[in-house]
Amino acid sequence: MKVDLTVNGKDISVDVEDRMLLVHLLRDVAGLTATNVGCDTTSCGACTVLLDGESVKSCTVLAAQASGHEVTTVEGLAAGGQMHPVQQAFHTQHGLQCGFCTPGMVMAIVSLLKENPHPTEEQVRNGLEGNLCRCTGYHNIVRAALTAAEASSEVPA
């Protein structure tokens, strides 16, 4: 079937199998391989992307369901060579070890901060319940989320 969607601001129109998952469209068709497949069972959050601005697990969305919608992957965050505040915060707080969960963590935090721009540490930890870090680097990931929230509040509205 034909699917038409916008990925990182770019229109994509492509014929795919009806059963194709969004994550495979992103990786294998669009060539955007930052989004990882981890558990493949809606648990680990490594495949998290934004669908119409909200975090979803792209291993559990059909490409067909995303047709007509906007998808953002971690490749689409940086604008004009400038890292997104969440990416910058991961850098300054050393929010990653092996890096496998990082794209999903970053996208989950972007979505979280959009819904709750000034979360408490507890709200960040609850908000990341759908993302697993096998290196158990959670402390720095949570610090990165809080740093990004602070950085965003310094930017005049």
Binding site: M1, E17, D18, R19, M20, L21, H24, D40, T41, T42, S43, G45, T48, L51, E54, S55, V56, K57, C59, T60, V61, L62, A64, Q65, A108, S111, L112, N126, G127, E129, G130, N131
Partner: protein, 272 residues
Amino acid sequence: MIPSSFTYQRAGSIEEALALVAEHGDDAKFLAGGHSLLPLMKLRLAAPEVIIDLGGLRELSYITDQGSYVAIGALTRHHDVHSSGLLTRDIPLLAHAAGQVGDPQIRHRGTIGGSIAHADPASDLPATLLALDASIVARGVEGEREIPITEFFQGLFETSLEPEELLTEIRVPKPASPGWSFQKFTQRAIDWAIVGCAVSSGRVALVNMGGTPLRATTVEQALAGGASPAEAAAHAAEGTSAAEDIRATRAYREHLARVLVSRALTESAARS
């Protein structure tokens, strides 16, 4: 993992969805948010030949105040139920329980109608709606009917929906008394409940203590007879038939039911 092959159809209206399911019969499955059905299809535990995607039916996503009850469209997502000001004010148990389903990503996709129609006894919302004495609206080609939730869950993943009916709305009466509680015991934050419990207006419903969500009627009777939360909760496992699995034995689930019901009744009393 990739589901086995199927034909994808997107319904543009409720009428079109009903026509498609009438055409394809048992070979077809409705797809709402897809967070129960797609994981089963990826594991090849379900292999429908036709998927009828309801995702475009925006007219089934709403939360409206109907005076004595709140009407919730079947395609309303857990995220929207959780963040609804109306529900937080008038039916806080439901707003809270919807926020306990899965994780934020799952709540951005999963729908209240999908969860109820899937009828997994380990899910949070079936038992919550049982405690709230909700009713279910189903539409077929011949019209609409309202099913009391006490008659809705028939068995493991089985409901009283007819094969060609579409669940369209959930009606939730505003509780008569302010006390409520929702308790859930899990291994990891995003897991299904090993056991859970919802309490509202003297009704007590259990998650994952049998093939369907169950009312703990002996507990309710004890409460009505003036028993304390601790005394009433001692009856929580009566009439249940909890499964044994990798997470828990039946005896452990029965113990959890007594502990969680006791906590829930105490919390509910404190809110009254």
